[in-house]
Amino acid sequence: MKSLAELKAIKDRMKDKVVLREGTGNVRVVVGMATCGIAAGARPVLNAFVEAVNKEGLTDKVTVTQTGCVGLCQLEPLVEIYEAGKEKVTYIKMTAEKAQTVVEKHLKGGNIVTEFTVAEAK
C-alpha cells in the first residue's frame, strides 16, 4: 500500500458489498415474495431492483428487501416503496423492465411512475 488513493480504491470497491449490513437506506424497496408473488414472477423483479440500484450507485440511499404476501395477490408482482416522511407508493404487476424504469425515474429522478401504481389501476 503506497498511497491513500489505493486504500480508497479498495474501500470504494468493497463499500457496496457491506453497505447492506448498515441498514442506512432512507428509502426501502420492498418486493412481495410470497408464493403468489414468486409465481407471478417476483424473483426477476427483485433481482432487477438489486442490480439497477447498484448500477445507479444508490446503495447508500436505497435498501432493497423482501416481504411476504401483501394481500393483493391478483396484482402481483407487487413492489412497495417507503420513504421517510412520504406516503408509501405501491407498484403493481411489475416486471424486470418496469423495475428498471422505477429505479431511473422514481428512485433516481424523484418522480413517481404513476402508470405502474395501484392508484392508477383503480
Partner: protein, 606 residues
C-alpha cells in the same frame, strides 16, 4: 447480484454451541434452492449475545435469529430467503419495555440488549468477516493509519491520544497518551510496541472477542502507536488457549503484509513496522506487563521490579509501550473521529466506552459495550435482562481475582474508574460476574484466592506464602472452625500482602477478601459466631434434617443416601400411612442427594 447477507457468528461462544454445523447447513441449503447468486454467507466475530447462540443475522432486514439449529436452517432458507417470510419462532425480539406488535419487524438494533449499548470497540464484531481485510477497509479500516502517516507528526498523534483522555482498558486505567509520551523521547536503536492479549481473569473474554471479530483494528492501532513512539517492531502476546483468535490474527497479519499495510515504507511514508504473535503458555502472571515481556524474551514468566518502567527499559531492555487489546481497539476510531467525539462519551475522568463480559447469574450472558458512567443497574437489568428465576441481586464481582465487588446497596453506582475505586472496587479488565442471593460471599472470596494461590509465580514471599495463609484462614472459617480473631488476622494479612508484593498479581490478590469483608462482614461473622452459612453454600456449616410431618415414608432419600445415614423412625405423621425417616447427623456427608430426590419438600437444608 447479492441482495441478502446471512451472517453466522463464528465467535468461540457460538462455535461451541454448534455454529459450524449451522453454517454448513446454510451453504448446503442456499445452493439447493439456487440462491448462491443472490445470498452471501458470511462468518463473523462475536455478536455479544453468547447465551442465545448460535446466532444468525440476516441483512438488509437485520433480523436476529437465536439458538438456530442445523434443522432450522432449511426453514429459514425456504421461508425467509426464498419467500421473504420471517421465521417468527426463531426471532429474538426482547425489546424491553415496549410491547411487540409484529415480531417479524423487530431487528437487531431494536432489542433491549443492543439499544442501550454504544459500540466503538466492538463496532465491527458481528458485522464484518474478520478474515477479510477488504471488508475491514470498507468499514474505514486503515484510514486512520493512512491519516497518521500522511498528515500527522508523531507529536500530533500523541497529543490526540492524550487529549482524548483514553485510559488503559486492561484494568489499571493509566492514561494511554501519557504512556506513549513517556516512551517517545527515549532514544534507542530498537523500540517496541506490545499488545497484551493474555486475558486471564476467570469469566473475561472481551479481548478474545475483539481479536476474533476485528483483528485488523489491533494491527492498525499498533502500527499507529509504533509511528507515534518511534518503534518499528511489535508483538501481540496472546494466550495459546485462544486458537480461533490466534488463527484469525495471523491471517490478518499476513493479509496486511501482503497489502503493504505492514512491512517496509507503509503509505510511502518511510515508516516501517513489523508485527509478530507470541503465544502465552497459560500462566496468569504473564498478564502482568513486566512478566509478559520476560516471557516474550523466552524466559520464565516472572515479574521484575519497577522502576525502571517499560517506557525506559522494557522488552529486551529497550523502551517499550504495552497496551491492552481493548485500549488499542479505540485508537483508530479516536484518530478518525477526533477528540471531541470521544470525550463527548463517558464521565469527567473516564472517557469513551467499556466492554464488559457479563457472566454468572444473569439472563443474557454475553459481551456488551456501554458508555462510561452507565449505572450497574442498567447493565444488570436493562441490558443483561436481570437475574434468572426471580432471584434477588446480591452483588456484582468486577476485575476477577484482582477485583472487588459491588453490593446491591450500591447498584446505582455509575461505572467508571474513579467511582469504582472510591467504593473499594476496581474496573478491572471487564469481567462482570453477577451473583444472586444463593451465593456465599466467603466462598466466592475463597474461589478467587484458590485461583491466585495456584497462579502466584512464587518469586516474592508476601504473595507466595501470604496468599496460601489467607486461603487457610478462609478454609478455617468456612469449615466452621474460625474465630473472630481470625477475621482480624485475615484483614491484617490482606493489607500486608497488598503493601509488600512485587507485582500487580500479589498487590491485588487480597482484594476479593477485603471487598467482601467491607460489604459483607456480617456473613463472615455468621460463619464464625453462629457457625452458619447464610446462603447455604458452605457444606461443613450445613445440616440436612427431615420434617417428620411432611415425610410420607416413601424411603427414596434412604435409597439415595450414599452413606446409609437415613433410617426409618417409628413416628407416623397424622394423615400418612408409613413411618417417617430421619438423618443421623454424625454420619451425614452433606451431599444433598436426599434433598434432590425428595418430591415432598420434606428435607430441610440449614
Amino acid at each position: 447480484m447479492i441482495r441478502t447477507h446471512v451472517l453466522v457468528c463464528g465467535g468461540t461462544g457460538c462455535t461451541s454451541s454448534g455454529s459450524q454445523a449451522v453454517q454448513a447447513a446454510f451453504t448446503e441449503n442456499i445452493e439447493a434452492y439456487g440462491l448462491s447468486e443472490e445470498v452471501k454467507l458470511v462468518q463473523t466475530g462475536c455478536f455479544g449475545l453468547c447465551a442465545l447462540g448460535p446466532v444468525v443475522i440476516i441483512y438488509p432486514e437485520g433480523t436476529f435469529y437465536s439458538r438456530v439449529t442445523p434443522e432450522d436452517v432449511k426453514e429459514i432458507v425456504e421461508e425467509h430467503l426464498l419467500k421473504g417470510r420471517i421465521v417468527e419462532r426463531l426471532v429474538y425480539a426482547d425489546t424491553g419495555a415496549e410491547e411487540i406488535v409484529d415480531k417479524a419487524s423487530v431487528s437487531l438494533g431494536d432489542t433491549a440488549f443492543y439499544k442501550t449499548q454504544k459500540r466503538i470497540v466492538l463496532r465491527n464484531c458481528g458485522v464484518i468477516d474478520p478474515d477479510s481485510i477488504d471488508e475491514y477497509i470498507a468499514m474505514d479500516g486503515y484510514a486512520a493509519l493512512g491519516k497518521v502517516l500522511t498528515e500527522m507528526t508523531p507529536e500530533d498523534v500523541i497529543k490526540v491520544v492524550t487529549d482524548s483522555g483514553l485510559r488503559g482498558r486492561g484494568g489499571g486505567g493509566f492514561p494511554t497518551g501519557r504512556k506513549w509520551a513517556l516512551c517517545a523521547p527515549n532514544k534507542a536503536p530498537q523500540k517496541y510496541v506490545v499488545c497484551n492479549a493474555d486475558e486471564g481473569d476467570p469469566g473475561a473474554f472481551m479481548d478474545r472477542s475483539i481479536l476474533e471479530g476485528d483483528p485488523h483494528s489491533i494491527i492498525e492501532a499498533m502500527t499507529i502507536c509504533g509511528y507515534a513512539i518511534g518503534a518499528t517492531k511489535g508483538y501481540v502476546y496472546v494466550r495459546a488457549e485462544y486458537p480461533i483468535a490466534v488463527r484469525r490474527l495471523q491471517k490478518a497479519i499476513d493479509d496486511a503484509n501482503a497489502y503493504g499495510l505492514l512491512g517496509k515504507n507503509i503509505f510511502n511514508s518511510g515508516f516501517d513496522f513489523d508485527l509478530e504473535i507470541r503465544l502465552g503458555a497459560g500462566a496468569f502472571v504473564c498478564g502482568e506487563e513486566t512478566a509478559l515481556m520476560t516471557s516474550i524474551e523466552g524466559n520464565r514468566g516472572e515479574p521484575r521490579p519497577r522502576p525502571p518502567y517499560p517506557a525506559v527499559k522494557g522488552l529486551y531492555n529497550s523502551p517499550t509501550v504495552e497496551n491492552n487489546v481493548e485500549t488499542f481497539a479505540n485508537i483508530p476510531q479516536i484518530i478518525l473521529n477526533g477528540v471531541e467525539w470521544f470525550t463527548s462519551m463517558g464521565t469527567e475522568k473516564s472517557k469513551g466506552t467499556k466492554v464488559f463480559a457479563l457472566g454468572g447469574k444473569i439472563e443474557h450472558t454475553g459481551l456488551v459495550e456501554i458508555p462510561m458512567g452507565t449505572t450497574l443497574r442498567e447493565i444488570v437489568y436493562d441490558i443483561g435482562g436481570g437475574i434468572p428465576d426471580g432471584k434477588q441481586f446480591k452483588a456484582a464481582q468486577t476485575g476477577g481475582p484482582s477485583g472487588g465487588c459491588i453490593p446491591a446497596s450500591l447498584i446505582d453506582t455509575e461505572v467508571d474508574y474513579d467511582n469504582l475505586t472510591a467504593i473499594g472496587c476496581m474496573m478491572g479488565s471487564g469481567g462482570l460476574i453477577v451473583m444472586d442471593e444463593d451465593t456465599c460471599m466467603v466462598d466466592m472470596a475463597k474461589f478467587f484466592l484458590e485461583f491466585t494461590v495456584d497462579e502466584s509465580c512464587g518469586k516474592c514471599t508476601p504473595c507466595r506464602v501470604g496468599t496460601k495463609r489467607l486461603l487457610e484462614l478462609l478454609d478455617k472459617i468456612t469449615d466452621g472452625k474460625g474465630t473472630l480473631e481470625d477475621i482480624d488476622k485475615l484483614e491484617n494479612l490482606c493489607n500486608y500482602i497488598k503493601a509488600n508484593s512485587l507485582c500487580g498479581l500479589g498487590q491485588t490478590a487480597p482484594n476479593p477478601v477485603l471487598a467482601t469483608l467491607k460489604f459483607f462482614r456480617e456473613e463472615y461473622i455468621a460463619h464464625v459466631v453462629d457457625k452458619k452459612c447464610p446462603a447455604g453454600v458452605c457444606k461443613n456449616l450445613l445440616s440436612f434434617t427431615i420434617d417428620k410431618d411432611k415425610c410420607i415414608g416413601c424411603g427414596k432419600c434412604a435409597k439415595n443416601c450414599p452413606v446409609d445415614t437415613i433410617v426409618k423412625t417409628d413416628y407416623v405423621a397424622p394423615g400418612h400411612k408409613l413411618a417417617s425417616y430421619s438423618i443421623e447427623q454424625a454420619k451425614c456427608i452433606k451431599c444433598g442427594a436426599c434433598m434432590s430426590g425428595c418430591k415432598f419438600g420434606a428435607i430441610i437444608k440449614k
